[in-house]
């Protein structure tokens, strides 16, 4: 029965709809963000949430410092700001555009800020001649970028989703990768960087969740980089933009908002081709990149102290295993030295990646490591990956 006098005055048919609206609106949940949300990331110990830890990120190379010798600016004088991953990406591009007059940013929908906000405000700040939309054509975006870079300019192209990079595959593999080699070193497209959001968000399905890095392994001449956090993204992106080779920079989209760190606001790079050991261990090497870094962190915790329901599956004897966790960061060329050195010590390697098993990056790493570390391996190299059935990008953790 309607008790409220206000409601009593409303015609009966309208009351019903008001009542049902009120009930459905009572939970008032917001629609989930397009790029998804990974709550476990927020509490990750790998994120550098203090200025101090951010400034001391290993391998950080300040642009205003020499390669050796004492720092020009004391760390204490450097500033950081709280940024999520898309803000860090944006910050890197802003620095590139500021310092390099030839730099331009282009792709679908980048002018208004981009579908993941990575280019927010850049068109306003640097003008539409330097930050501009292209028509909907990945092969065109890649080709245009190659032409621009062949003239010595810095071309920062965006492919809206890694899932849509395939029309550009010919341009990237046949043209960009081979540009220097085939012209006897006369031409090259080092100034080309292609950015794309990658990996799963949960609701993305077949075509907003892919990890296509494996397809490019055979294209010598290209570099492939996948950051795990805002500090990493900014440093690796600046390094990629300035690397004298075409680089495909794949940003795990679920981390755009989920990963938040203090990020140095200055100009810094993190070197390409170098993996980073996140957790030191001696019993097993766990190698991964991108979003699974955080799943691996969770897995290590669960191994140490398994939840009640899983306890019976995890023998006491292995709960104290010291797992060495490595973030590969650059997928091509990949840091075989760091991985091999680790596996020589641990004797066990587990590779985790979101891309499906057959022909994935894991197969390349497994083959090379088993060759180098054969006599030291206690067990075959294991790959924990998405299954080959494409539909769902879900990775099981054991």
């Amino acid at each position: 029965m309607i008790k409220s006098p206000k409601l009593a005055r409303i015609p009966h048919r309208n009351v019903l709809s008001i009542r049902s609206n009120r009930r459905w609106q009572s939970t008032s949940a917001e629609p989930p963000p397009a790029e998804g949300h990974l709550p476990s990331v927020a509490t990750s110990s790998f994120l550098r949430t203090t200025p101090d830890s951010a400034l001391r990120a290993p391998g950080l190379q300040w642009a205003d410092d020499g390669l050796s010798g004492p720092p020009n600016i004391a760390l204490a004088e450097r500033e950081t700001r709280k940024m999520n991953l898309y803000q860090a990406v944006r910050d890197a591009m802003s620095i590139a555009l500021t310092k390099d007059d030839t730099a331009v940013v282009f792709g679908e929908d980048v002018a208004f800020g981009g579908v993941f906000r990575c280019t927010m405000g850049l068109a306003e700040e640097f003008g539409r001649e330097r930050v501009f939309n292209t028509p909907l054509t990945e092969q065109g975006i890649a080709g245009f970028g190659i032409g621009l870079a062949s003239m010595g300019h810095t071309a920062i192209a965006e492919i809206q989703f890694a899932d849509y990079i395939y029309p550009a595959f010919d341009q990237l593999v046949n043209e960009a990768a081979k540009h220097r080699f085939r012209s006897g070193g006369q031409f090259g497209v080092g100034g080309l960087t292609i950015r794309c959001p990658t990996m799963s968000v949960g609701h993305g399905g077949l075509y907003h969740s892919q990890s296509p890095e494996g397809f490019f392994l055979g294209a010598a001449g290209l570099k492939l980089v996948i950051p795990r956090s805002p500090v990493q993204a900014k440093g690796l992106l600046l390094a990629s933009i300035r690397d004298p080779n075409p680089v495909i920079f794949m940003e795990p989209k679920i981390l755009y908002r989920s990963a938040v760190e203090q990020v140095p606001i200055g100009d810094f790079e993190i070197p390409l081709g170098k993996a980073e050991t996140l957790v030191n261990g001696s019993d097993l090497t766990l190698l991964t990149w991108g979003t699974p870094v955080y799943h691996c962190e969770t897995a290590i915790h669960m191994l140490r102290s398994p939840p009640e329901s899983l306890a019976k599956h995890i023998p006491q004897s292995i709960r104290s295993a010291k797992v060495e966790l490595i973030d590969l960061r650059t997928i091509l060329p990949w840091d075989v030295e760091t991985i091999a050195e680790s596996v020589e010590r641990t004797g066990r390697l587990v590779i985790v990646h979101e891309a499906s098993r057959t022909g994935g990056v894991g197969s390349e790493i497994a083959a090379e490591i088993q060759k180098r570390c054969f006599l030291k391996l206690h067990a075959p190299v294991k790959r924990v990956t998405a299954w080959d059935a494409n539909a769902i990008r879900k990775v099981l953790y054991t």
Partner: protein, 364 residues
């Protein structure tokens, strides 16, 4: 009188060079070649209408444009032989894949039409350079077959929307290997597509060198004035085979080719123009062709005996900057193989002799 003579000479030398290099392939001295018979007017007319420092991205049949810019016979031979003087590709590509930064001629790649959206990017770079904005365009050549590729569509879109001063030169020569134009498209050639992209377009008689010159000159002017793509479709006919790997009489009658050579010959048509003005003669024709033949033969003989680049060159320039471990290690692998088998295995021993240094920089 000077300029038409120059253009005529540039056209006249092409079949002399083409005939030599085609036959040289037949004799097994070079692995591959593509002639441009019948398209001399399209190539020289357009080359002459461009500025020397306009950026050129070509498909594969545009050696004439490079020659127009002063590329030497020795360099042509070096690339075709892949000998150690080859600066275009350092012996890494098939014959006719020329490229020269100094001549603003971007290195040819076998993949068709990939150069089209790249040209839009090259042109955009020109607008971003205050010294070249409004002065230079990027001219991109392609055949009517390559224009079926998605990259053509992409290139036209980019040059018209970004926009960038890209001059699209379509050589409609009637064939894409064996596929006649009638099987390549149902519409009215390439020109009909231009207006669809909002691109100024002209169709020209590709066998009339003066018409091609005028059309490309005006197209270039418009291109630079508006900073936007302009399309020129030159209607011509591929008299020769697609390449040395092709026998076109398998798909077209000999008579058709002979008729074309007789009725619509770009060199003959221009010859008549010069004759009518008393600017050329039979004697000059013979003398000139003789001279070109001697020069090209000299370059051929010189290039024929040269060795290739050192074996180790095959691992260079995969990456710029620091060399990744996989390249380093694979070079070491070859080293080990050469050390082990290089002297004992005759086929390798003989092959190594063809390389400068005979592989010793690796095996010793």
């Amino acid at each position: 009188m000077l300029t038409p003579r120059l253009r005529y000479e540039q056209m006249l030398q092409l079949p002399v060079i083409d005939n030599l290099l085609y036959n040289v392939q037949r004799q097994g001295k070079i692995s591959f070649y593509m002639t441009a018979h019948g398209e001399e007017a399209t190539l020289i007319g357009s080359a002459a209408a461009l500025a020397d420092d306009d950026e050129i991205l070509s498909q594969y049949r545009e050696m004439a444009v490079l020659l127009w810019r002063g590329f030497g016979f020795d360099e042509i031979m070096a690339q075709c032989f892949g000998n150690h003087e080859d600066t275009c590709t350092k012996g890494k590509q098939m014959p006719i894949h020329f490229g020269s930064r100094a001549h603003h001629f971007h290195t040819i790649s076998s993949t068709l039409a990939t150069q089209i959206p790249q040209a839009a990017g090259v042109a955009f770079a020109l607008t971003r350079d205050p010294l070249r904005r409004g002065k230079n365009c990027a001219a991109v050549y392609f055949g009517e077959g390559a224009a079926s590729e998605g990259d053509f569509h992409a290139g036209m879109l980019l040059a018209s929307t970004i926009p960038s001063p890209t001059l699209f030169i379509a050589r409609n020569n009637g064939f894409a290997i064996s596929t006649p134009a009638s099987e390549q498209f149902h519409g009215d050639g390439i020109a009909a597509r231009g207006p669809g992209y909002g691109v100024h377009t002209i169709r020209v008689d590709g066998n009339d060198v003066l018409a091609v010159y005028s059309a490309v000159k005006e197209a270039r002017r418009l291109c630079l004035q508006e900073g936007r793509g302009v399309l020129v479709e030159a209607m011509t006919y591929r008299v020769g085979h697609h390449s040395t790997s092709d026998d076109s009489f398998a798909y077209r009658p000999r008579q058709e080719v002979e008729d074309r050579k007789r009725i619509d010959n770009p060199i003959a048509r221009f010859r008549k123009f010069l004759d009518a003005r008393g600017w050329w003669s039979d004697a000059e024709e013979d003398a000139y062709k003789d001279r070109v033949k001697k020069e090209i033969m000299k370059a051929f003989r010189r290039g024929e005996t040269m060795q290739h680049h050192p074996v180790s060159e095959m691992f260079n320039d995969v990456y710029g900057g620091q060399e990744p471990w996989n390249i380093k290690e694979q070079r070491e692998e070859l080293k080990a193989l050469l050390k082990k088998y290089g002297k004992d295995w005759e086929p390798w021993r003989n092959e190594l002799k063809k390389f400068k240094g005979e592989g010793k920089e690796l095996s010793e």
